[in-house]
């Protein structure tokens, strides 16, 4: 990989040169994949990110030469697997600014939020308590709260967002009351790309005595996450959006809260002792990790994180900002097209709607040209309703994308206008 960490940071961080970007793209095998007989133009990293070869290789090596289960055996092979797994935990913790004793491996963001709802939520919520969300949440940060609300008699409430696609902070603050026990919101909107003022919102919630969960699914791919700086109590991420494997993710839980949480799943590896008269449980993350975990997933994720650390964060961010700005500008050239929202801070994604063609049809026209975008409700039906749309098209960019791909998108949208008149 040639985009080395700059020894002296450039004054105004510039994007990547052509050569650097090409070298970076060569690290991701899918960047030279084909679809429908065309080179793949992947503008759907908000759904899931493509993988660097080093991450794939790490998982392969583990299965071919080092495979054993973790936390099970006294023999060297198993001890080594355990070391790799726990080193991965330390790396993930580090990437979140968390301690490794506050970092629980889960299947992904969705499971992380369900874990908090069922373990923490179910133990503290009472009838009449309120859980405050926002209108821009992903279904994974809505339904788990509805389920626990049903079980406990608590109520789910959503703070409104503005036409620009930003949280309405005044309303948010007003909706925080003495009844609010849990506040859960996304760091970055998967539909609008909006970056929420997490620390400000967290402080408002804490002033009311509520506990804060931040859905970091979209943030981890684009931002420097530091849970201590954000001051949140829980933070949920998925490895597959962080250039790692699917089927693994992490939940940060502030140590003092984690220690007080009742078990989530029961089983092997989370117990201290089991007896039909009653069992006792381990402390720390282990208590929430029953059963054999996705070991190769943790190891692969650690390899992605190592890879990302070889890159110059500032210049990658500048490159991504350039792509998104360019996309935003060029989209305004396309007739019959309206971009959703206009947040002052945006990363990763931009959603739009065409008055003459359903998003689904736009998706098909683009797909024929090798361009992968997401068309649909993006697991954000309440947000769609807020904007009065059944669905949108979303283009999202990651570090490996290039301006040429935005051009391809725009050409495709012109064709939509040709076909649908």
């Amino acid at each position: 990989m040639s985009v080395a960490q700059a020894t002296r940071p450039p004054k105004a961080p510039a994007g990547l040169t052509h050569a650097e970007l090409n070298a970076l793209r060569a690290d991701f095998p899918m960047m030279s994949a084909q679809t429908n007989g065309r080179p793949l133009v992947y503008l759907d990293s908000a759904v899931t990110a493509q993988k660097p070869q080093v991450m794939i290789d790490a998982a392969t090596r583990f299965y071919e030469r080092e495979y054993a289960s973790v936390h099970r055996g006294v023999y060297s092979l198993s001890q080594h697997a355990t070391d790799l797994f726990e080193q991965a935990r330390a790396k993930v913790a580090d990437a979140l600014g968390a301690g490794k004793d506050e970092t629980i491996f889960v299947r992904g963001t969705t499971e992380a939020i369900n874990l908090v709802a069922q373990s923490y939520g179910r133990s503290v919520l009472k009838a009449g308590d309120e859980i405050l969300l926002t209108q821009m949440e992903h279904h994974s940060n809505i339904v788990p709260w509805q389920l626990v609300a049903e079980q406990t008699g608590a109520r789910v409430i959503a703070a409104p967002i503005t036409d620009d696609g930003e949280i309405d902070l005044d309303s948010f603050e007003r909706l925080l009351t003495g009844r609010t026990r849990i506040v859960a919101f996304t760091h970055v909107s998967n539909v609008l790309g909006t970056v929420n003022p997490v620390r400000q919102m967290t402080r408002m919630a804490h002033r009311r005595g509520a506990v804060v969960l931040v859905d970091g699914a979209q943030a981890i791919q684009h931002l420097n996450v530091d849970v201590k700086e954000l001051e949140c109590d829980f933070y949920a991420v998925s490895a597959h959006k962080h250039f790692g494997p699917a089927g693994i993710g992490a939940l940060y839980a502030r140590r003092s809260i984690l220690d007080a949480m009742p078990p989530y799943h029961g089983g092997g590896a989370m117990i201290r002792s089991v007896d039909f008269g009653g069992s006792t449980y381990l402390d720390g993350p282990a208590r929430f990790e029953a059963g054999t975990p996705h070991i190769a997933g943790a190891i692969g994720w650690a390899a992605s994180i190592d890879y990302l650390e070889t890159l110059d964060r500032q210049r990658i961010a500048a490159h991504e900002a350039d792509l998104l700005g360019y996309a935003r500008d060029r989209l305004s050239e396309v007739e019959n097209l309206r971009v959703l929202g206009n947040p002052s801070e945006r990363v990763g994604a931009v959603s739009f709607f065409m008055s003459n063609a359903h998003p689904h049809d736009v998706g098909t026209v683009l797909d024929q040209r090798g361009i992968a975008v997401r068309a649909g409700h993006h697991c954000c039906q309440p947000l769609m309703k807020r904007f009065g749309l059944p669905a949108t098209v979303r283009a999202s960019v990651a570090l490996y994308n290039m301006r040429d791909e935005i051009d391809a998108l725009i050409d495709g949208l012109h064709e939509v206008n040709e076909v649908f008149g």
Binding site: H358, H360, T364, D367, Q368, A375, G376, P390, A391, F420
Partner: protein, 149 residues
């Protein structure tokens, strides 16, 4: 591009723009809701049967060009048909959109043959058949929710 034109034939685009039998049918009638959770397509189909014949069929909802045109052309094709004939046409339609690319399309499909192009777009087959599945549910008489996922 040629593939695209095969999917979005003029008659499909026309039905998408100006759907026939669009709106609510006044009772007495059966109705059913259909839903494609993947893309959020929602449809409601109303049908009035008189003496084993489909006297009137209408639909409402939002969806892509394929699902809207398919619903619209279905209503055209079925009005006045017996319930048995409707069932046969449904089978024929399903067979057509899910068959091999090269399979020939029988004459009995009439104008519906324009949907043969969907075969090359596996992700869109559910769009084309949503209205038909929903009609089946409405014919069963119960107000059921149908899902193509």
């Amino acid at each position: 591009m040629s593939d695209l034109r095969e999917l979005y034939q003029e008659v499909i685009l026309d039905h998408n723009r100006r759907p026939r039998n669009f709106g609510e049918l006044e009772p007495p009638c059966s109705e059913a809701d259909g839903h494609n959770p993947l893309c959020g397509d929602q449809i409601r189909v109303y049908v009035r049967i008189v003496d084993g014949k489909i006297e009137k069929v209408m639909f409402q909802g939002s969806g892509c060009a394929i699902s809207k045109a398919s619903a619209s052309m279905m209503t055209d094709a079925l009005t006045g048909k017996s319930v048995q004939d409707a069932a046969k046409l449904f089978e024929g339609f399903q067979a057509m959109v899910t068959s091999d690319m090269d399979a020939t399309v029988g004459d009995e499909m009439g104008k519906l043959a324009v949907f043969a192009g969907v075969r090359e777009f596996p992700a869109r087959i559910k769009c084309a058949s949503l209205a038909w599945h929903t009609l089946q549910a409405a014919l069963k008489g119960a107000h059921e929710m149908v899902s193509t996922e």
